[in-house]
């Protein structure tokens, strides 16, 4: 067996063992607490399987598949919007020092505010679907922006020198050198941003959304005391987030290969 494959298998095995250990601890603690407010893993997984297989409407009128797709769509929209804005702004900030100086104070003031704190603002100024997308946007925008700026700044200066001595300048230089050279950093920023955006899902759906969503699902189930469903929903969020990250990491690798850095 090739060394890499063996490594890979060991990796998966260790990871799985760790997760199983965690579930075991959960079970022990739940048995001790012995309250419906902390259901045991068996109950949660049974509920999860049942939800996924039957895919029935719950009292909010939505199927679990609709909850899932609603959240995914929301996050992708917020992500897409943030990426479209943050990447160009980041490239400009990295390339033109005066733009960075102008924008930097605003960014540094807004960035520490958690997306959750923007909920009243979002509710007041936007309606669904923009209100929830806005919350996701705030979580995603800053990591992408900062990664992009860092990417531009870390470009090997010799590449720029080489391009200039080949007669390239101004916009051409930006387009032909700065942008491609920043791609790996941009991809890293996108990956991180998407992860954060997915974490914002529950917060984002607090603003009042149409079409269901995993965040709304968890909160509603909590309200009526169906905690197995709450935990099942949390597991769904975790697993989906994991899958999204897996896809993003693959994309990141592909594009870095294209960019010749890998």
């Amino acid at each position: 067996m090739r060394r890499e494959t063996r490594r890979g298998i060991i990796q998966v095995a260790i990871g799985t063992a760790a997760v199983l250990l965690l579930i075991l601890l959960w079970d022990l603690y739940a048995m001790q607490v012995d309250s419906p407010y902390l259901p045991r893993p068996q109950q949660v997984f049974a509920t999860l399987v049942s939800i996924l297989i039957h895919n029935d409407k719950d009292f909010s009128g939505f199927l679990i598949s609709q909850h899932i797709s609603a959240s995914v769509v929301r996050v992708l929209c917020g992500f897409g919007l943030a990426a479209i804005l943050a990447v160009p702004i980041g490239l400009l900030c990295g390339w033109l020092w005066y733009i960075e100086k102008a924008i930097s104070p605003i960014i540094e003031l807004i960035r520490p505010v958690p997306p959750l704190a923007w909920i009243p603002f979002a509710i007041y100024f936007f309606r669904d679907p923009l209100s929830s997308i806005f919350i996701v946007f705030l979580g995603v925008f800053f990591p992408i922006l900062l990664s992009t700026v860092a990417g531009v700044k870390s470009i090997d200066p010799l590449l720029i020198d080489a391009a200039r001595t080949l007669g390239t300048k101004g916009l051409d230089l930006f387009r032909k050198v700065i942008v491609p050279a920043s791609v790996p950093s941009i991809m890293t920023g996108l990956r991180i941003g998407l992860g954060i955006g997915w974490m914002c899902v529950v917060a984002a759906e607090l603003v009042g959304v149409k079409g269901g969503g995993l965040g709304i699902y968890i909160l509603s189930m909590s309200d009526v005391g169906r905690f197995e469903n709450v935990f099942a929903g949390m597991i769904l969020i975790g697993v989906l987030g994991f899958i999204i990250m897996l896809i993003m990491t693959q994309l990141e690798r592909r594009l870095s290969r294209w960019a010749g850095m890998y």
């Binding site: 300048k169 050198v177 050279a181 960019a259």
Partner: protein
């Protein structure tokens, strides 16, 4: 080889500011570069050879003094004065073909013409079959060959080379030196070649400019009239070499005493 002056450098001074101290890299340097020649610049390490080259390329501004290219002041980098770097500086996201054609992209030539030029240089650099390879797949020698023909693709009037073979192992270096001479013979370009290897200078140069230690000015220029290809072991070569080494040693001693 005519004696037309391509570049005229007069009393060039360049001062850098680093952490509150001023470092004078070049002090009243005066030298001419003639069309079609291969001029080597040697000098003690850190004397400012690279700074001179970068000013020639237009990547740095001269402090005081004049530097004229074809009679005009150099205002910034341009494709007519292209440069080859020690670290190759190839664009990693572009393959060999695309690296070479980089400088052609903003020229108004037909696609066929561009392809012709690129193919020509691929042949010149002995890289047939590697057109679609990426820099990460190439050996150092191959990378430098790409870098050289990339710089040549724009048909520059002046080719600047900053210790281009410094990253290569001895064998590859030898091969590359021969390749360079071949390319130079075929293209007839004016080349300004910075190196700290006296052997290399003696092997390649028409003229050798010896710089003083920092702040650098011109110590001496000597003509090397041995015809190419040269034997580095011949007595003539050894004589010239020994002479240069003595002068460099003296410069190094001087710098040790004053700094």
């Amino acid at each position: 080889m005519g004696r037309n002056v391509l570049v005229s450098i007069q009393n060039l001074t360049k001062v850098f500011e680093k952490d509150d101290t001023e470092i004078t890299a070049l002090q009243r340097l005066t030298i001419d570069v003639f069309e079609g020649e291969l001029l080597c610049i040697v000098g003690p390490t850190g004397c400012g050879k690279t700074t001179l080259l970068r000013i020639l390329a237009g990547l740095e501004k001269p402090g005081s003094g004049t530097i004229r290219f074809e009679g005009q002041e150099i205002r910034g980098p341009a494709a007519e004065r292209s440069m080859v770097f020690q670290e190759f500086a190839l664009f990693p996201w572009r393959n060999v073909e695309k690296n070479i054609s980089f400088g052609l992209e903003n020229k108004s030539l037909t696609k066929e013409k561009k392809n012709e030029i690129v193919n020509g240089f691929v042949s010149l650099a002995n890289l047939k079959g590697f057109e679609h390879s990426h820099p990460r797949d190439l050996s150092s020698g191959m990378k430098q060959r790409v870098a050289i023909v990339r710089a040549l693709a724009t048909d520059p009037k002046l080719l600047l080379m900053d210790e281009p073979f410094g990253s290569l192992d001895a064998q590859t270096r030898n091969i590359m030196q021969k390749e360079l001479l071949k390319i130079w013979a075929e293209t007839g370009k004016t080349i300004v070649f910075v190196t700290h290897s006296v052997d290399e200078a003696v092997l390649l140069a028409c003229r050798i400019a010896i710089l003083t230690s920092r702040p650098a000015s011109l110590k001496r220029v000597l003509e090397v009239e041995i015809p190419h290809p040269r034997d580095i072991m011949s007595s003539e070569s050894i004589q010239i070499r020994t002479g240069i080494l003595k002068e460099l040693e003296a410069e190094v001693q001087k710098s040790l005493m004053t700094h």
